[in-house]
Symmetry: C2
Subunit: 328 residues, 2 copies
């Protein structure tokens, strides 16, 4: 086991903070063999479960304006967590808090990796029976330039290789048809750049929304607006279907009985699709490791986020990303 | 029953043409009390099931370039169908063929309604227990201007009112957060225009992908790129879940037996979510009625598409749309 600096967990971030977050951080420290520190207000955290606390008196709330929050709340848990990474007191930060403010803190305090135009959020989307599909940008940059998307392709490929052991991850560009003539102006320009050949990117052409949940593709590149809409559309559809199916199962006494047979088959699938089982999204392109866990993260989600953070630190992912985007 | 001009069905369009299309057209004529004509090559159609055929010797294939197809194949079924509407020999056109070429034919031959900047594809997305959510633009315009989206909002509201009897359909703008500061440049500018007040539009602000399958919203406005990606993402997620659930049901003998109880509960839901049960998408903003059915349309899908076409003709929807976008 490599000895690494502690992973800084934002104890104030997320709908279930600090309780679930502290519990998850403690569990991660116990199970993953990695030091974990909490960042936040010791008075609010209360029982830190024996973990060290890096004090921070302020909180950027879930609905606070991210830009203003990061600028004004210099003693917030998010800003302090990012500073801990910058200053070499932590190897990574993990937060289930305000996504925009997490990005902003990481970007402002850690800075960008050399050569990276814009960091992007890489979200692994579980695909049962296959490795997850990595979608990026999942929301960091609402308006993008073609050159940024090319870098997202490079960073996404590195991420898929390191995290899922894929030697040559297949990278697709999210569009509205397979043909290179399909898409908006951004996609058509990006397609031309990727098709011309980009080091480290196995470009397989345009893909569509229906390809994401298949094993036909490993990395899906898109702008942060489309990526975020896509992600939330997927979440909505999954929730709808899950509610419909489990609703049917309890709709009559007979159905409840019949479900006793089907639940053991369907529950592992639901578990595999559960975002808590994965480890949140990674902000790729900042000079450090930053994991963004979803707002309703449970202790389990925090454990998995810390696990991903640890892996990324051990794999020296930031270095790999910088190498990937460096001009040949 | 109003006497209307015949509805022109593109007999050559779709993966299952002409067989299923002709069968659906015949069934529609029998069941809906509306005259139906086929458009296509009589030699290929073969048995026209007693329906009149407007002859057209060419076909724009599913994978042909739409622009080139419409320009070069002047005797194609799609171009001839659109001309029949323009010339007053048909009241509406229905096609399950090449979507881009269907749009192109309608736009070039019927022309735009006065005042409409760009026609948009309005796709009703089934929401069990509620009226469908109308998503537009679902793919006609990959790059949009804010003013076009404002017109999409107006046209979508008219469509939802006429089709689903909603007095004041709630119109949302698809974005990546509810706050007006969230979104890309297009969405932020559009939000400002809609929030300032637009006649006929009950604007409820930004909505997210996860809101589409709920009864919280009636019309979702977006550019044609995002709309098409969203639609196909929804389709992919639904297919994935359907396959997973029905796969679980046949995975063991015990499961098959248990499913006998659950299937009667789940099948009506699957039926309600089935695009064949609805009636395709409508191209709003052209000077006539044009229904775009999905490529794999069955006879049932064609019947429902003709039904929607008939309703739109009887409701004089094109006139209503022109009124809606006319300057106050």
């Amino acid at each position: 086991m490599t000895t690494i600096l502690p992973i800084a967990v934002d104890a104030m971030g997320g709908d279930r903070a600090p309780g679930e977050v502290v519990a998850g951080a403690r569990q991660a420290a116990d199970e993953l063999g990695v030091p974990v520190v909490l960042v936040g207000d010791p008075g609010v955290i209360g029982d830190a479960a024996g973990l060290e606390v890096f004090p921070a008196s302020e909180v950027i709330g879930m609905h606070d304006d991210p830009g203003a929050g990061v600028r004004r709340k210099k003693d917030s848990s998010l800003v302090r967590a990012a500073e801990a990474v910058r200053d070499g007191r932590a190897s990574a930060m993990v937060s289930a808090g305000n996504t925009g403010a997490t990005m902003g803190s990481a970007l402002l305090r850690m800075g960008r990796l050399p050569g990276v135009s814009r960091p992007a959020i890489a979200t692994p989307i579980p695909v049962p029976g296959s490795t997850p599909t990595v979608l990026l940008d999942a929301g960091a940059n609402a308006d993008c330039k073609p050159e940024w998307l090319v870098q997202f392709a490079q960073m996404g490929a590195v991420f898929a290789t390191e995290r899922y052991g894929l030697e040559k991850p297949r990278v697709g560009l999210l569009s509205i048809g397979e043909e290179e003539t399909k898409g908006n102006a951004l996609v058509k320009e990006t397609h031309a750049l990727l098709a011309a050949g980009v080091p480290g990117v196995e470009f397989v052409g345009n893909v569509e929304g229906r390809d994401i949940l298949t094993d036909d593709i490993d990395v899906v590149v898109t702008d942060g607006f489309t990526g975020n809409v896509t992600l939330k559309t997927l979440e909505g559809a999954m929730k709808f279907m899950r509610d419909a199916v489990f609703g049917a199962m309890v709709s009559t006494d007979e159905a409840v009985k019949a479900s006793e047979v089907l639940l053991p088959i369907l529950l592992p699938l639901a578990e595999e699709m559960d975002p808590d089982s994965h480890g949140g999204a990674a902000l790729l392109g900042v000079d450090g490791v930053c994991i963004i866990s979803h707002g309703s993260s449970s202790a389990k989600a925090i454990v998995n986020a810390v696990r991903v953070a640890r892996d990324m630190v051990e794999q020296r992912l930031a270095e790999r990303l910088a190498e990937a985007v460096a001009p040949a």
